[in-house]
């Protein structure tokens, strides 16, 4: 029978062996009987001659070579029985591990998906972006791109725009989807195949005859067409223009912007047709004419493919770019400005991981998170270690007994290791399940939009193996220590009667190790608590910044009139109808229109000249611009410092007016009353200041307050507003859907992206801080919880071990409260030592956090003190139950029990 056969046919083999040996004995017996012995004597002698049947059977079984497998099977079954019998211990260990590992795996999966994972295209390491050192201009005009590509024929280049929101008409109602304009060789450069139909080629971006074609993503094909072939060749209405779907990109391809999903791609030549007007810097050019052929409009990002090393390529591109810059500044004679332009350099940045805004804002936060989660794992492993050590000691008598009846030391060690590894594996599996749920949940927290960012996060084998590796290592390491200790031959002393009062084997080593472990746990959870409270306070500080606007009472309905295809002439009527519809809703005080928004910032800046203002020589006197409807400032709850709000007087027929903010007033009209004064772009008499308002955190909670000029939108008919602001009289919970419905009734062709409070928008500008504060709080809590568990377990165990001692004390007259105090004192000592240790560690580590904090220093003494107090209190609570149990020990039963 083969070895494998022998493994699985153990029963049959055992039966045969039995039969064989019996045959032997009975044959001898028959022989003896036939030579004259009595049946009983024959049997006795036959058996005696044969020797011990069982040992022979054991040896025969050993000879099979399958012994170790059945041993391991036996060990595992035994381990499972022991774990079931000690449910509390098992639950504590499994829970600690599950939490520690699950959290780690979840955070790592998000980090991997966002920061580390490479694009799912051919040879991603060959991809690079062409950027410039002057970061604001990493966009190129189409002619400039063609010139660069021509200068370096050895590499391949393509251009693209960042994903933008576009309005698709689906079944009569408008939906917003991300789309991207790309050059004809985009898909072939990336090496993305088609899932159906065909993808773009060089014919599709012919500037002379723009092709109204589009490629859709596989996810969009699935959700809107059910992957039907009929989708190819059908038409899509994007931004009010009909385009024909010519193909579907391969499954899983969502563009190269990590964290954003692109549903539709169109050729760059469709820019005018699709009304694409975003992200462009213009220089002596006409934005209303098609952009593709204009060298004065820089609106495209350039991506290239070439194998490393790219030094020579960089030199060639550098040379060509320099030529382009020289041509652009040909009519600038100011030497310092020329120098500024000429300092611009080309950079070739790695694009193998795609591009991502999310990544840049979140990278530091995620790193901090990874650190914290690693600490939680540390606490969990320390817990496991302590529990294993405690369990080991409890079984010292059991092992002493087994040693004395002949168990081999190696066998015992192997069994203990099997137990701890089994426990570790169960914990690891639980942790894995937790991370399967946890990673998407974490991702939802991370995303700044209302739906989760579409990151690719498959269950990674790296995580699995790392997780299991850590668990098994922990199990082995912390199972080995008690295993070695317990299987020493001297353990047999434990069997002696005296062992009841004095614990054999508990000299020097064991209690100290447990105490050190627990103190370390407390120290680590102290670190977690300090970190968490620093971040929570940072976020709170940020959220309490006065942004200058009434955050909770004002709702913002966001849409895009340009995408909806509105003509400029229809805008004033639209705005009026929207305001009217909103103001008619119950619970609404007033409504108004705005272009950009009070916290989300705007990149629109211009240089001005102001009455009686002389700018210093080297300065560009710029302001930011916002366009708003009537009664804007009162609707948003902004403080009017001087002058008035906009109203119906400020229309196209009247004099051009503006309201400025305090920052602009201080800069351009220092010491004067700005109301009534003038400024303009070329002439100081263009615009009259009619009011001054308090500063608002226009560029986000952390951004600098800009100098801002507000213009009435009625006087700027070419501005396509994007926001309807509604001031609520009271509760705002029912308003969002009411507002959405009202807008839809007024204008069904206008897609409303969302309706949110200003508060929510403000929070989004600090989404990274919000994320960090929530998660560090969660992990801090987790760490403390696990450490508390560990502390409880150790103290409870220590009390259980000392039952006899406690019994003696009580019997001799000690009061229950003194026993309680004895236990609590032990607990508090551990907690305080741990807290101090943790505080000492926190001081140098805090330095790394200072850039992430706002409004407080990492060494904030109040935080440290409060965290220490929390940790010590939790420690005291952990010891409370064992202390109470200790005082309730019945002296007689304690002394009598074994």
């Amino acid at each position: 029978m083969s070895w494998l056969g022998r493994v699985f046919r153990r029963d049959k083999l055992d039966r045969e062996l039995d039969k064989e040996l019996r045959f032997h004995v009975e044959t001898r017996e028959a022989e003896l009987r036939s030579s004259g012995a009595s049946p009983e004597e024959a049997r006795r002698r036959a058996l005696a001659e044969f020797g011990g049947v069982e040992p022979i059977k054991e040896q025969a079984r050993d000879a099979r070579g399958t012994r170790w497998i059945s041993d391991i099977g036996q060990d595992v079954r035994y381990a499972l029985r022991m774990l079931r019998a000690n449910k509390g211990f098992t639950a504590a260990a499994v829970l600690s591990l599950a939490v520690g590992l699950g959290a780690n795996a979840a955070v790592f999966r998000v980090i991997d998906g966002l920061l580390l994972r490479r694009l799912d295209v051919k040879n991603p390491q060959e991809l690079f972006l062409v950027e410039t050192t002057d970061a604001g201009t990493s966009r190129f005009s189409h002619p400039a791109y063609l010139a660069l590509a021509e200068a370096a024929p050895a590499a391949k280049f393509a251009v693209y725009t960042a994903p933008t929101s576009g309005q698709l008409l689906i079944d009569g109602s408008a939906e917003l989807h991300n789309f991207q304009l790309v050059s004809g060789n985009w898909f072939s450069l990336l090496g993305v195949p088609a899932a159906a139909g065909r993808l773009f080629d060089s014919n599709d971006d012919n500037a002379a005859s723009p092709q109204p074609v589009a490629v859709i993503s596989d996810a969009f094909w699935l959700s809107n067409f059910g992957r039907a072939r009929s989708a190819i060749g059908s038409t899509l209405t994007l931004n009010n223009t009909k385009v024909t779907i010519i193909g579907v990109a391969a499954e899983g391809f969502n563009g190269i912007s990590v964290g954003q999903r692109v549903d539709v791609w169109a050729p760059v030549t469709m820019q005018p047709g699709l009304n694409y007007r975003s992200n462009a810097s213009t220089d002596n050019a006409d934005q209303s004419k098609p952009w593709v052929s204009q060298s004065g409009i820089a609106w495209l990002a350039v991506i290239g493919r070439a194998p490393e090393p790219r030094g020579a390529l960089l030199a060639v591109l550098e040379g060509k770019y320099h030529q382009q810059v020289e041509a652009r500044i040909a009519d600038i004679h100011d030497a310092s400005r020329r120098a500024r332009f000429l300092r611009d350099r080309i950079l070739l940045t790695d694009a193998s991981r795609g591009v991502s805004n999310l990544r840049d804002t979140l990278a530091p936060a995620l790193t901090v998170l990874m650190g914290m989660v690693a600490l939680v794992l540390l606490v969990a492993c320390a817990n496991l270690a302590n529990l294993l050590l405690a369990r080991g000691s409890a079984r010292s008598r059991e092992f002493a007994l087994r040693l004395s009846i002949g168990a081999r030391r190696g066998r015992l060690i192997r069994q203990l290791l099997t137990e701890s590894v089994t426990l570790a594996l169960i914990g690891g599996a639980a942790g894995l399940l937790l991370s399967i749920w946890g990673a998407p949940a974490l991702l939802r927290l991370v995303s700044t939009t209302s739906t989760a960012a579409p990151l690719v996060m498959p269950m990674d084998w790296r995580i699995l193996s790392f997780g299991f590796g850590v668990t098994v290592l922990t199990g082995l390491l912390f199972g080995l220590i008690p295993a070695l200790r317990l299987s020493r031959p001297e353990m047999q002393d434990a069997l002696k009667a005296g062992a009841r009062v004095v614990n054999a084997g508990s000299r020097r080593g064991r209690p100290q190790v447990a105490k050190v472990l627990v103190a370390t746990q407390v120290a680590v959870s102290m670190l977690l608590v300090v970190g968490a409270s620093l971040f929570v306070q940072t976020f709170r500080n940020l959220m309490h910044i006065d942004i200058g606007v009434d955050r909770t009472a004002v709702l913002d309905a966001r849409f895009d009139t340009r995408l909806a295809g509105f003509d400029e002439s229809r805008l004033p009527v639209l705005y009026a109808r929207l305001i009217q519809a909103a103001e008619q809703l119950p619970g609404v005080k007033s409504a108004t229109i705005g272009l950009v928004g009070p916290v989300t910032g705007s990149a629109r800046t211009s240089g001005i000249v102001a009455e009686r203002y002389q700018p210093p020589p080297d300065e560009d006197p710029i302001v930011q611009e916002e366009y708003v409807g009537p009664r804007y400032f009162t609707t948003l709850g902004m403080r009017i410092v001087a002058g008035r709000d906009f109203d119906e007087r400020d229309n196209a027929r009247g004099r051009k007016v503006a309201v400025i903010n305090e920052a602009m007033a201080k800069k351009f009209f220092p010491g004067l009353d700005p109301v009534g004064r003038g400024f303009g772009y070329d002439d100081v008499k263009e615009i009259e200041v009619v009011g001054v308002v308090a500063d608002v955190r226009f560029n986000g909670l952390k951004g600098k307050v800009p100098r801002l000029a507000y213009y009435p939108i009625a006087q700027h008919g070419d501005e396509f507003a994007k926001n309807l602001y509604v001031r609520a009289a009271g509760a705002t919970s029912t308003l969002p859907s009411a507002i959405k419905d009202a807008i839809r009734r007024v204008e069904p062709g206008l897609a409303v992206r969302e309706v949110v409070t200003i508060d929510e928008l403000a929070e989004r500008t600090v989404s990274a801080e919000r994320l960090v504060s929530r998660l560090t709080a969660a992990f801090g809590f987790l760490g403390v919880f696990v450490a508390c568990f560990g502390l409880y377990g150790t103290i409870a165990y220590s009390v259980a071990r000392r039952r006899n001692e406690i019994g003696v004390r009580l019997a001799l007259g000690a009061s229950p409260s003194s026993v309680r105090w004895m236990v609590i004192r032990e607990t508090l000592l551990l907690a305080v030592v741990g807290a101090v240790f943790g505080a000492v560690l926190a001081l140098p580590l805090g330095r790394y956090l200072s850039t992430l904090l706002y409004g407080l220093s990492p060494r904030d003494p109040l935080t440290l003190a409060a965290s220490a107090a929390l940790v010590v209190i939790v420690g005291a609570l952990a010891g409370a139950v064992p202390a109470w149990r200790a005082s309730r020990v019945n002296p007689t039963s304690a002394l009598r029990a074994d």
């Binding site: 039969k19 064989e20 045959f23 032997h24 001659e49 020797g51 025969a60 000879a63 099979r64």
Partner: protein, 116 residues
């Protein structure tokens, strides 16, 4: 006084079993009896070693086992030599000859080299 039966080393026991079985298939009891008889009671197989050895040889593939009826009608497990076992037997015989020749030379050459 009859000399005490010599204790056999494990390797030697394997050799004896293989040799005994090479003539005809036998069951365990018969193998022990045959060794005892053929060696004129000089060698006694310790019963504790017999069956472990048989099983070990079977697992190594040198013996093949089959359940069969004995002459008395009872069922017993018969062992026979496999081809690999036959080769192993020759190796071990050759080793044994070398060993005993060498020992004989050292001890003074008075003994006859053992008959193979």
């Amino acid at each position: 006084m009859a000399p005490k039966p010599t204790d056999l080393l494990q390797g030697t026991l394997d050799l004896l079993i293989l040799k005994t079985v090479s003539l005809e298939p036998l069951h365990g009891y018969a193998i022990a009896a045959r060794i005892n008889a053929t060696s004129k009671a000089l060698l006694q197989v310790p019963q504790g070693s017999l069956y472990p050895a048989l099983h070990r040889l079977e697992n190594k593939g040198w013996l093949a086992a089959e359940w069969d009826e004995t002459s008395t009608g009872r069922e017993a497990k018969f062992y026979k030599l496999t081809r690999a076992g036959r080769q192993q037997l020759e190796h071990e015989l050759a080793d044994w000859k070398r060993l005993t020749d060498g020992i004989a030379l050292i001890l003074g050459g008075a003994e006859e080299p053992s008959r193979s």
